[in-house]
């Protein structure tokens, strides 16, 4: 068990380290020169240029800069934004809260809605199943930005139950403001989870050990709870974990659609402005969250599947 935990932890750190290198190297290799942005296209004296380069450490060799940057990241300094002339950490702080709230909100919707719909579809054959299956087929074909646009056009123009733009202030008001974005973010993922749940439960219903339980006269309710749902949740957990982790990236699109001032919008702005330190920081942060979330799910696995508890395969 300890070995299993350590193995996962080492894997996590390795992945994070390599990701940081990839992120840094990618932007180092970028053909656009941040200096030209700093100078705003004006002619500057070679001296000023050198000073600027020094200020942003652009005159150092690649590995030195990478080491510096990584050291800073480890101490919580994500670098200086070239555009805002501010520490990126400061710029990210408040925005990260909005994004985290949005992702969390959507995750709750996805897990509750998806698993509930999938379970109902699996257990009640007939019109209910067909209806949910049709719903998931449509839901899967709905990109988050399309749902966002649809929600905006309904709630901004026709009915005004929910606010369409802005972040709000205070937790309740913010959640109120984040409702539509969270729904937009959750729709297609809920459909996916519903589908996986339905498939997993149907498969489990047909399993031999369920036949055994039936053969012993165990009441249906108990069979469903103790055998079908319990075992079916194993594959669902895997997919739900990856899906929720993936919301971190998906939020970029939704934030943009609803003009939310979160990490995603910040990332898109920074890309448009060639603000490399900011892009580096945000991408790294998102990758880190994604990787950590998937590792957490991996670590949960032995708890729900005893076959995994002895350190991996079989």
């Amino acid at each position: 068990m300890i070995r299993f935990l350590l193995g996962r932890l080492v894997g996590l750190l390795l992945t994070l380290w390599i990701s940081s290198f990839v992120v840094f190297a990618a932007l180092y290799l970028a053909p656009g020169d941040p200096i030209s942005f700093l100078t705003g296209g004006r002619e500057v004296s070679p001296l000023t240029l050198a000073e600027l380069r020094h200020q942003y450490q652009l005159d150092q060799p690649f590995l030195v800069r990478y080491a510096d940057w990584l050291g800073g990241v480890l101490h919580g300094h994500l670098g200086q934004s070239i555009v805002a002339h501010q520490d990126v950490s400061t710029l990210i702080g408040a925005r990260a809260q909005t994004s985290a709230l949005l992702v969390g909100y959507a995750a709750v919707l996805i897990i509750l809605g998806g698993i509930a719909a999938g379970t109902i579809a699996a257990l009640f054959k007939g019109p209910l199943d067909s209806g949910i299956t049709l719903g998931t087929t449509v839901g899967l074909a709905l990109p988050s930005f399309v749902t966002a646009i649809a929600l905006i056009s309904v709630f901004a123009v026709d009915v005004r139950w929910f606010p369409v733009f802005g972040d709000g202030s205070g937790l309740l008001d913010r959640l109120w403001h984040l409702t539509l974005p969270a729904i937009a973010l959750a729709v297609s993922s809920s459909a996916l989870i519903a589908r996986i749940t339905r498939g997993a439960l149907r498969e489990e219903l047909g399993r031999e050990h369920v036949e055994t339980a039936r053969s012993r006269g165990i009441p249906r309710r108990k069979i469903l709870r103790r055998h079908v749902l319990r075992n079916g949740m194993i594959p669902v957990t895997t997919v739900a974990g990856i899906t929720v982790a993936g919301l971190v990236a998906g939020s970029v699109v939704v934030e943009r659609a609803f003009n939310l001032n979160g990490l995603g919008s910040f990332l898109v702005q920074s890309v448009a402005a060639n603000d490399f330190p900011a892009v580096q920081a945000v991408v790294l942060l998102m990758v880190a969250v994604f990787v950590i979330l998937s590792t957490v799910v991996d670590l949960l696995y032995p708890l729900i599947d005893p076959r995994m508890a002895r350190g991996g395969t079989q």
């Binding site: 031999e208 050990h209 012993r216 006269g217 103790r226 075992n231």
Partner: protein
């Protein structure tokens, strides 16, 4: 003798891709209290489905006709609580593959005591104690520790013993054993079969024993029914079936199995392949493989003829009587060796 279980004219069809497909045409047999009946057949003969029909475990959408009586109760009409009670306390099933038939994410203890606790309302401590004593009976020591283990931590032979213990835990009156030892090694099979046989006799439980192994069935069963293509073709006392088969299929089956004690120059062979129930033609299903087949065999299903030791379903049984191993067609499987040498042919330029 009043029978514990009687199955009469059982017919089962299952939906396969939207069409009903017959898996059992005509199965009739009976089991007395404490008696063991072997149900023999090759793949596709419908033997597993027969056991499932008795246990009311057929897949959804199955069409069943005929009659199954358990202790005077019509099994096919049971529903709700009565059906659950039947499954809990009257019959218990032992499956072929314990690895698949025991929930992998629950402990052995949970598996053994689930029925006791949820359907008989026994308290956990009492249920555990009963489970441990049953484990000891099937030869599993340190039951306390085993109860906390998971199925993947046990070998196949051990898991099948756990399955047997779980079948006996609620003191059923009939065991449905579906090839309980087929997946095991020979020596393990012998051990597990010995345990099953002893416990069954000790507890006075009747058994429907499904297998493809005639020798094994002869050793552990009082009577044997032979299934071919979804039809029971012969039922006899185990000893006399082995010694004096009356249906050509039984005789052929007995003869074509290589012997442990004698090497045959050529094995007597039944030509063709075993038919699945849905492929069976109008007349006797065995006709096209039968050495004694005559035009009369194609005219409808043969009715059962009773004799001293049992019943046989064969149109020509009065003419044929008891069959020896000469009942078997020895078909030349391959053409006569007309080529000089098979091996040298590919060498030619």
């Amino acid at each position: 003798m009043t029978e514990l279980l009687t199955v009469e004219d059982l017919r089962v069809a299952l939906p396969v891709q939207g069409q009903m497909r017959t898996v059992i045409h005509q199965a009739s047999f009976a089991i007395g209290p404490g008696e063991a009946l072997g149900l023999i057949g090759e793949s596709g003969s419908g033997k597993s489905m027969t056991a499932r029909a008795v246990g009311r475990l057929l897949p959804a959408g199955a069409q069943v006709s005929g009659q199954i009586m358990f202790d005077g109760e019509p099994v096919l009409e049971l529903a709700g609580a009565a059906l659950r009670r039947y499954r809990t306390t009257d019959v218990a099933m032992i499956f072929q593959d314990p690895r698949a038939h025991i929930n992998p994410v629950r402990t052995i203890g949970d598996f053994l005591t689930e029925g006791l606790r949820s359907t008989l309302g026994m308290r956990r401590r009492d249920a555990d104690r009963k489970a441990v004593s049953l484990l000891a009976e099937v030869g599993v020591e340190d039951g306390e520790r085993r109860l906390r283990q998971y199925p993947h931590q046990l070998s196949g032979g051990l898991l099948q013993r756990v399955m047997i213990a779980s079948a006996l835990v609620a003191n059923p009156r009939l065991l449905l054993a579906d090839e309980p030892t087929t997946a095991l090694d020979v020596t393990t099979q012998s051990e597990v079969m010995g345990i099953l046989d002893r416990l069954r006799r000790d507890h006075g439980v009747a058994m429907l024993f499904i297998t493809h192994d005639l020798e094994l069935a002869t050793a552990v069963c009082d009577r044997i029914s032979v299934l071919y293509a979804g039809t029971v073709v012969e039922s006899q006392d185990a000893e006399s079936l082995h010694a004096a088969p009356r249906h050509p299929y039984t005789a052929a089956l007995l003869a074509s199995r290589p012997s442990l004690t004698v090497r045959a120059r050529r094995l007597p062979v039944i030509g063709g392949r075993p038919l699945a129930a849905f492929e069976a033609p109008e007349g006797c299903a065995f006709t096209e493989r039968c050495r004694w087949a005559s035009p009369v065999c194609e005219e409808g299903r043969p009715a059962p003829e009773t004799h001293d030791h049992g019943q046989v379903n064969c149109h020509r049984t009065t003419e044929l009587g008891i069959l020896g191993s000469e009942a078997v067609v020895t078909e030349p499987v391959i053409a006569e060796p007309d080529k000089s040498s098979v091996q040298s042919r590919g060498q030619q330029p």
